[in-house]
């Protein structure tokens, strides 16, 4: 009995995981082998998904069906004229599927292909045309991007330092929170002001306060980073304990006869 692809996938995944973890003991060839395999698969995956999910359906197929194929039928329509159903079919396809404007898509494609001139010492300046175009897009789009993302942040930065409850009285919690946010923000901004003389404007203590408050925020970032990294390890350990170990049991049963008890 041959093992299923799912079983093989789980077994390979576990072996690869342990190979990667062997690096913790010492760098070794087993680790390097699987690291290289991963890079190969990841790059192949990128190429396949770009081709199958974009280039093929959105660019090549329309170019072929509405461009070349339609043109071929159009040019040969005369040969099939008066040939009954075949002639009508060719004429119908030629009329329906030939869009000359489809060829215009070759212009951005050829422009994008200028990237490949980067490998030529003589013509690599042409690659800079495409790169420059991309940078230009980023520059032009930066305005809209900035205002869309940061304008609400700027508005939110202005907040009342005394908040009143709807039934009357001061909402102390919210007022204190707004005060803390405003002071944190201003003191952090003052800390990063290097073009003025802080001593002259008595801003040194504010800048120091900003520095300490930043440490609190960076501590929050650090604590969150620890949480994130642990989650990756947890998933791998769960995989090894719950799936990989059981996959070996299934493999044993498969070769001992009787099929995998866990149905992988």
């Amino acid at each position: 009995m041959t093992p299923s692809t799912k079983l093989i996938g789980i077994l390979l995944g576990g072996i690869g995981t342990l190979a990667i973890y062997s690096f913790l003991y010492k760098e070794n060839r087993f680790y390097r082998l699987f690291e290289h395999i991963f890079i190969g698969v990841a790059t192949g995956w990128l190429v396949v998904t770009t081709f199958r999910d974009f280039l093929f359906p959105k660019f090549l197929t329309p170019l072929w069906e509405r461009g070349f194929t339609g043109l071929v039928f159009r040019l040969n329509a005369g040969a099939f004229e008066g040939q009954g159903a075949a002639g009508e079919f060719v004429k119908r396809v030629a009329d329906a599927s030939w869009y000359p404007t489809q060829y215009l898509w070759l212009i951005p494609a050829m422009f994008g292909c200028l990237y490949y001139t980067i490998y030529s010492r003589r013509h690599n300046w042409m690659a800079r045309l495409v790169i420059g175009f991309g940078i230009g897009i980023g520059g032009g789009a930066a305005f809209e991007g900035f205002f869309s993302e940061y304008l609400p942040q700027i508005f939110a930065a202005f907040r009342p330092l005394l908040v009143f409850k709807s039934g009357g009285g001061i909402d102390v919690n919210l007022s204190v929170l707004n005060l803390v946010i405003t002071l944190s923000m201003l003191s952090t901004m003052i800390y990063f002001l290097f073009t003025i003389d802080r001593h002259k404007f008595n801003l040194e203590s504010t800048a120091s306060a900003g520095r300490l408050l930043m440490m609190v925020s960076f501590g929050a970032v650090f604590g969150s980073t620890v949480t994130a990294r642990l989650a990756l390890l947890i998933e791998r350990l769960q995989f090894l304990v719950y799936k990989w170990s059981i996959a070996w049991v299934d493999l044993y049963h498969l070769f001992a006869g009787g099929g995998p008890p866990n149905g992988v």
Partner: protein, 309 residues
């Protein structure tokens, strides 16, 4: 041992501990809850609860508008973001809110095909257990959810979809024109959606959605992020640019708890267990920080004493 050999104390042992022992200790401590299948109830997270309540409000709308979820994560961040994605999909599917699934990362392509059916199965099992009529149990592709797959181009894809999604995307992963699906009937651009949930561990993708898939009074954003991005995400919560947040696996576990307690959906035991294991891991780190610092200061004091004598 010669008379001149200094005695090794516990302090010396701790100070010279091999890093491989620390790695081994990490693995062992985190294997304890996994092997023993220990599970604690996750704490309630305010931001996850806010998102849950927002989706419940959307479910009460008479004409439920479509929500969109972008699975912009891959294997590297799947442990934290897959639970959040699964929890959200279970919720909207259970409440019969149509959902559009896509990804801007080629790494996430496979997950768009695997995670929604997993959520659908949980919802169908729950409906079966509740005795829902047979013709209302199934979560149907094309009516309840649709997979637009991998959209190449990051910001360009977001901009294209914001303008006219059907014209830009044209077909789903089954290569069928979007106009043929019931779910896409009233969908045009960003305005057509009631909620856009971005689930990502990558830097820069969520700001791109904010910048180009314009938020309106009726189209809001929510975010599922890895724990690293949580501190930064709070600024978007504060400014009102987000209605809710999945704070990594902690947020996902809290959302699963809400799904279980309020809707009766079976929670993902893997997520609850991951939270518990995380507790062990963080406890170990806290212990190591304390032990490391205590050992360091004691060694410093010993060195100072030895230098004065």
């Amino acid at each position: 041992m010669t008379p001149d050999t200094p005695r090794r104390t516990v302090l010396d042992f701790i100070a010279n501990l091999d890093r491989r022992f620390v790695y081994f200790l990490t693995a062992v401590v985190m294997l304890i809850p996994i092997v023993s299948k220990l599970e604690f109830r996750p704490p309630m997270m305010l931001q996850a609860e806010k998102l849950f309540n927002y989706v419940e409000d959307l479910a009460r709308e008479p004409n439920k508008r479509v929500v969109m979820i972008s699975l912009d994560w891959g294997p590297q961040t799947a442990p934290e973001l897959r639970p959040a994605t699964l929890a959200f999909l279970k919720h909207v599917m259970y409440r019969r809110i149509p959902v559009v699934v896509l990804t801007l990362l080629n790494d996430g392509r496979g997950f768009t095909e695997v995670v929604p059916p997993e959520a659908a199965k949980v919802v169908e099992d729950a409906r079966r257990a509740e005795g829902v009529p047979a013709n209302e149990i199934e979560v149907l592709y094309g009516r309840d959810w649709i997979n637009l797959g991998y959209r190449f181009g990051f910001s360009d894809a977001i901009r294209g979809m914001a303008g006219n999604l059907i014209e830009y995307v044209r077909s789903d992963t089954k290569r069928k024109p979007l106009e043929e699906y019931e779910i896409m009937r009233n969908v045009k651009g960003a305005d057509s959606f009631s909620l856009m949930v971005e689930v990502t561990g990558s830097v820069g993708i969520f700001p791109a959605w904010l910048q180009w898939f314009k938020q309106t009074r009726t189209m809001r954003f929510a975010l599922g992020c890895t724990s690293i991005s949580v501190p930064e995400s709070y600024t978007y919560l504060d400014s009102g640019q987000l209605v809710g947040l999945f704070e990594g696996i902690t947020g996902a576990a809290a959302y699963e708890r809400l799904l279980s307690e309020r809707l009766g959906l079976s929670p993902s035991r893997d997520t609850f267990q991951a939270m518990t294991t995380q507790m062990f891991g963080q406890g170990l780190i806290v212990l190591l920080v304390i032990v490391g610092n205590v050992a360091y200061f004691m060694l410093q004091r010993r060195k100072a004493r030895e230098s004065t004598t």
